[in-house]
């Protein structure tokens, strides 16, 4: 019975798994990326430490939480929707997208599953390495003050699970919109040029959103990109807890649904107009 009810999901799972396993092959890239991210995180933390040293009272979160925020951000960097899925652009330029149109599948769901596999396969090995380095090695060598801390309490850990799932789902939904624009315009450079800075600033990758001028808070806390970094990480160290945490989760979920809805509409229109390139 269960097998039958899951039957519809099998092709999407297969698409996800194939992409995930392919991306896991690039071990050297993952290692190089990991080293880069360690250095990056270290510089960020040194800068934070300098500013906290002069005026810690002005900071919206403690230095320990800021350090955790930086390491979590570096660990999950590849989950951020900075650039459109490169394979989509390729498929559209070579005409490979024609095969996708022939599959008896929901086109949006199929691309979404593949994009999700691409994101997670790049992110998870690096995240595991980063947790090991920043969460276990740093405290062991006596740099506990600069380490990634575990979630602040059982409740925070439990709430972080749905927050993580939603940040991934939201990231894939943002990428899908980018993918669709790529498919319509045949070129990913323009989209990425717009998308990357937007995501870095408004997700909270550059700085936790509360570090920006206070007057911007009402806007920063409701825009869709907040659910990519700022909300889940603040849930992790219990800066958002109880009702506020649930509100954060609701915002993530709402924006995910809205962006998926928009993506489906845009995809339908785009596919109707799509012209096959090459053969």
């Amino acid at each position: 019975m269960q097998a039958a009810s899951l039957h519809w999901a099998r092709p999407y799972l297969a698409a996800f798994r194939a992409r995930f396993q392919l991306m896991l092959q690039y071990r050297a890239a993952a290692l190089a990326g990991f080293a880069t991210q360690c250095w990056w995180g270290a510089i960020r933390i040194l800068v934070f430490a300098a500013f906290y040293g002069v005026n810690a009272a002005a900071a919206p979160i403690s230095l320990a939480d800021a350090v955790t925020y930086v390491w979590l951000g570096q660990a999950l960097l590849a989950l951020q929707p900075w650039v459109a899925d490169p394979e989509i652009g390729q498929a559209v330029r070579t005409g490979g997208v024609g095969y996708d149109r022939l599959r008896p599948l929901d086109a949006y769901g199929y691309w979404y599953a593949r994009t999700l596999g691409w994101m997670l396969a790049r992110a998870l090995p690096r995240a595991a390495l980063m947790l090991l380095a920043a969460g276990i090695v740093l405290p062991l060598v006596g740099l506990g003050d600069w380490a990634l801390r575990p979630p602040s309490g059982v409740m925070a850990a439990l709430l972080f699970v749905p927050a993580f799932v939603l940040m991934t789902a939201l990231g894939a939904a943002v990428l899908m919109l980018a993918n669709i624009v790529v498919a319509a315009s045949l070129n990913e450079r323009g989209v990425n040029a717009v998308l990357t800075p937007l995501v870095i600033v408004f997700s909270g990758s550059l700085l936790p959103l509360d570090f920006y001028p206070d007057a911007l808070r009402p806007f920063l806390h409701v825009q869709p990109f907040a659910g990519l970094v700022d909300i889940p990480f603040r849930i992790y160290f219990a800066n958002l807890k109880g009702g506020a945490a649930l509100q954060g989760l609701a915002l993530q979920a709402a924006w995910t649904l809205v962006l998926i809805g928009l993506g489906r509409l845009a995809m339908e229109r785009m596919m109707r107009r799509l012209e096959m390139q090459g053969g």
């Binding site: 510089i43 500013f51 800075p197």
Partner: protein
């Protein structure tokens, strides 16, 4: 044709190629402008919230930021061939063809693909420099301008040296390694704040290991006419950028060693 004229020819060819797609080139430049300009937003937000740090206001910190970004953007413009060396030349075997030509390999690589889009970073850094000049009283007299130009030259040499090292590594690894981004982009990231805000061990890395402080921090002190809070003597400040040229010279020693052991990938 002498080396300089040949280099000019390379650059002209590359520019003409990009001029074929003016809209794309403009958009890429604008994109690069936006992508690199967000960093100054972060710097601004931190100063806005915390106030001055290490004795520096936002305007003064912006001078460090602007000069480092100007240096890197020019180096990036001139050394694309070295950055892409592993992927585009060693792995594909295209370097064999470069070696067959009766001209220095380094010259040919320097002339490979001068990407106009990289002017985006140069542009935003220049805007920040103008902004900073209006925020803090900098007297742009002849000495200050000369120091700035000299510092930028040293900085370009330093970043070019890093890219040459990255290319040199490819003789052993056959591919360009992303890990060198730690030194290039990571270096820009680190040097865009004044050195004395960092912990002592990191200051040493940035002075003696990768001499970014010598091309950015010390000369900017001289431009702002401020004594070094860390105690370096005043006469040293404008001299420091020479370290960038020393770094480039050492990089070319390594490059020679790499060239000597180059074996074609045979494809």
């Amino acid at each position: 044709m002498n080396a300089l004229a040949l280099y000019g020819r390379y650059v002209a060819t590359s520019l003409r190629a990009q001029a074929q797609y003016p809209a794309a080139t403009l958009m890429l430049t604008a994109g690069h402008f936006a992508a690199t300009a967000i960093e100054i937003l972060g710097v601004f937000a931190l100063f806005d919230r915390f106030g001055p740090v290490g004795g520096w206001s936002f305007g003064e910190a912006a001078v460090f930021y602007a000069l480092v970004n100007i240096m890197f953007s020019i180096a990036d413009l001139l050394s694309r061939g070295f950055e892409a060396f592993g992927t585009d030349f060693v792995r594909t075997g295209a370097f064999d063809r470069v070696l067959l030509r009766p001209r220095a390999a380094a010259l040919q690589l320097a002339g490979y693909e001068v990407r106009l889009s990289r002017l985006g970073r140069l542009l935003q850094a220049s805007v920040v420099l103008i902004l900073a000049s209006s925020l803090v009283p900098i007297t742009w007299d002849a000495a200050a301008v000369a120091t700035a130009v000299w510092a930028v030259a040293g900085g370009v040499a330093l970043f070019a040296g890093i890219l040459v090292l990255q290319a040199t590594l490819a003789f052993w690894t056959i591919d360009s390694l992303e890990i060198m981004n730690v030194l290039t982009y990571g270096g820009v990231q680190a040097a865009q704040y004044p050195l004395n805000v960092y912990a002592a061990w990191f200051r040493r890395v940035l002075t003696f290991g990768l001499p970014l402080a010598c091309v950015a921090y010390y000369p900017v002190l001289a431009i702002l006419k401020r004594p070094d809070p860390l105690g370096a003597p005043d006469w040293f400040l404008p001299l420091a950028p020479i370290a960038g040229f020393a770094f480039l010279a050492l990089s070319f020693v390594a490059w020679r060693a790499g060239m000597a052991r180059y074996a074609s990938t045979g494809s």
